[in-house]
């Protein structure tokens, strides 16, 4: 398979403008600026069927198309580089090894919606990535790809690198915008959607790093080459970050529709230390876990993961071998969400902490009869009852762990101890 997203990352000095250009970089930018009307750029991305790779999977071209053309307000593009979903580290790789692809994609999106100010919102902890990106932005500006009257076309664009300060919720697009407006990262009620009422009330497009990094390839090669990859409904390629009890962890680019089992066993070398697979979360910690036997026949695309009762999400694959205590794993995830709940909506603010407390007491041998139903009830009361999808993200894994490994939870409660941890 020809690589779309990881096409440059293994080249020496891949982060520099010189190497990026030598490998065809900024060709798409010149093509878009010189030969394509902004609407044509959007149409090409629409035709590619590229979907948002941050987790929600919304069609990218359609998102750009929602931006009103006759609105007199300034328009903004924001590259969402606030990668924080547990199990996900693909954007970090692109940022550190192929920053110009991220920048070029951001610039093309800006041109498509005729924005003159774009932001790259990078999570605060990624200090090295921020330095790499800033250097790349400076290089691009010196080369005339950015700034005023770009390549003599009269088009102006400024790209501002903005560092977050430690908050998972800022990866949610309206939370990100609230943060970029100088506030707490509190998500906003949709509608209105950012496309019409985004940053400072102006039309705004927010796209994930991986989504934008695919755009230059699509513009350069044409949508048809992109749609030649993947399945009927899930086009192109997707990055998967693989972690946990796996022989070869790392970031992999996979053509949509690839066998999940083959991927884990052959590409990633299988479960490490000769142990057996117990469960795997395929799309980041927010997504329902699959038992080992459930991965049979699953392919790596939006539809197949959904049919299996989970979601592709961010592509953060967390592998757990048969020595894993699933109560402890569920507690760990619940603790994450309790820590990261932004505190705006009561069901999530209170419920996430309740779930964390109950999982903790089960793991520590203090579980009570009825605790499992209690968690299911809390989880059901959070999901769908919050402003943003964080509530769902916190409740799905809790409910799935109990449903899929109920006997292990019950064993903890009846034996009043964890029987699996060292």
């Amino acid at each position: 398979m020809e690589k779309v997203l990881l096409r440059n990352v293994d080249a020496p000095e891949s982060h520099t403008l010189e190497v990026y250009r030598a490998r065809g970089g900024y060709r798409a930018w010149e093509k878009a600026l010189r030969e394509m009307a902004p609407e044509r750029v959007t149409d090409e991305v629409k035709a590619s069927n590229l979907r948002g790779r941050g987790g929600a999977g919304f069609p990218t071209g359609m998102k750009w198309g929602f931006v009103p053309k006759d609105n007199p307000k300034p328009k903004y593009v924001v590259c969402n580089a606030d990668e924080s979903e547990p199990g996900t580290f693909k954007d970090r790789l692109l940022i550190e090894k192929d920053p110009h692809a991220v920048i070029e994609g951001t610039m093309i999106a800006a041109y498509a919606i005729q924005s003159h100010t774009a932001f790259i919102y990078i999570r605060g902890e990624l200090s090295f990535g921020a330095t790499v990106l800033q250097n790349a932005l400076d290089e691009a500006e010196r080369a005339g790809y950015l700034g005023k009257n770009i390549l003599g076309t009269g088009y102006d664009l400024d790209v501002i690198l903005h560092r977050g300060a430690g908050a998972y919720i800022c990866g949610e697009e309206t939370g990100l915008l609230a943060s970029l407006e100088g506030g707490k990262g509190w998500p906003k009620v949709k509608p209105p959607f950012p496309a019409t009422h985004g940053l400072f009330g102006c039309p705004t497009v927010v796209n994930n790093v991986e989504t934008l990094a695919a755009v230059p390839w699509i513009i350069d090669r044409g949508a048809a080459q992109y749609t030649a990859l993947g399945t009927e409904k899930s086009k192109g390629t997707k990055l998967f970050s693989v972690s946990g009890h796996i022989q070869r962890p790392g970031v992999y680019e996979v053509e949509m529709g690839y066998s999940f089992k083959r991927f884990l066993e052959e590409d990633c070398g299988g479960v490490r230390n000769g142990k057996k697979l117990k469960g795997v979360i395929p799309g980041g910690a927010s997504m329902p876990v699959l038992r080992a036997e459930e991965i049979d026949g699953v392919t790596m695309d939006y539809e197949s993961f959904q049919a299996a009762g989970t979601l592709l999400g961010s592509g953060g694959v967390i592998v757990m071998d048969d020595s894993t205590c699933m109560v402890r794993a569920a507690w760990n995830i619940a603790r994450f969400f309790a820590h990261e709940s932004c505190g705006q909506c009561s069901p999530c603010r209170e419920g996430c902490h309740w779930m964390e407390k109950i999982f903790r007491r089960i793991e520590h041998g203090e579980g009570r009869a009825g605790d499992l139903d209690l968690i299911q009830s809390i989880s059901g009361n959070i999901a769908g009852n919050t402003i943003c999808p964080f509530g769902d993200a916190a409740s799905w894994p809790a409910a799935a762990f109990i449903k899929k490994y109920r006997e292990e939870f019950e064993e903890h409660i009846t034996k009043k101890k964890c029987v699996r941890m060292e």
Binding site: R92, E125, R328
Partner: protein, 157 residues
């Protein structure tokens, strides 16, 4: 103690603010600048930022307390942050955190008496394929073992 930016920091502040479509948008970069200048964000520092940002102090305070990387208390020279989230936990993060606590004689959220280290246990740092891992100030240390951690801590004076 009068809390105020140095002339250099003041210049940086003006430059940052000028770039944003609205002044409010510069909040986080300005708070980072203040944290670098003052070491941490005391009540006085927050009031000062509020003044120059032309915002109520309560608004700035709300932002500072919302984000984990903005500190309202002084921290050690080396801020050790051990990731505790699932992918790292599966490959031994708890052992790493325990060994650091033992070596430094402090618990999570505490600073050594000499002000050299502060230890935090934090959520996912996007380094899941190379866990267990920790961040010390700006730097990531990955694929940790207890021996590796010992050597890293020795080097950080």
């Amino acid at each position: 103690m009068a809390v105020e930016f140095s002339p250099e920091a003041r210049q940086k502040f003006e430059k940052i603010v000028a770039r944003y479509p609205k002044k409010d948008g510069a909040m986080l970069p300005v708070l980072y600048l203040a944290q670098r200048e003052f070491g941490y964000l005391s009540t006085e520092a927050i009031e000062y930022v509020a003044k120059i940002m032309e915002l109520p102090a309560a608004r700035v305070y709300g932002v500072v307390t919302f984000y984990t990387m903005l500190n309202m208390k002084p921290i050690g020279r080396h801020h050790i942050q051990v990731c505790r989230t699932l992918p790292c936990a599966l490959v031994g993060a708890e052992r790493i955190a325990a060994s650091i606590k033992k070596k430094l004689g402090i618990g999570t959220g505490e600073t050594t008496a000499d002000g050299r280290f502060t230890l935090s246990e934090v959520e996912c740092l996007a380094s899941c394929g190379s866990g267990p891992m920790m961040q010390v100030n700006d730097d990531y240390y990955e694929d940790l073992t207890e021996e590796k951690v010992d050597k890293i801590l020795e080097r950080l004076k």
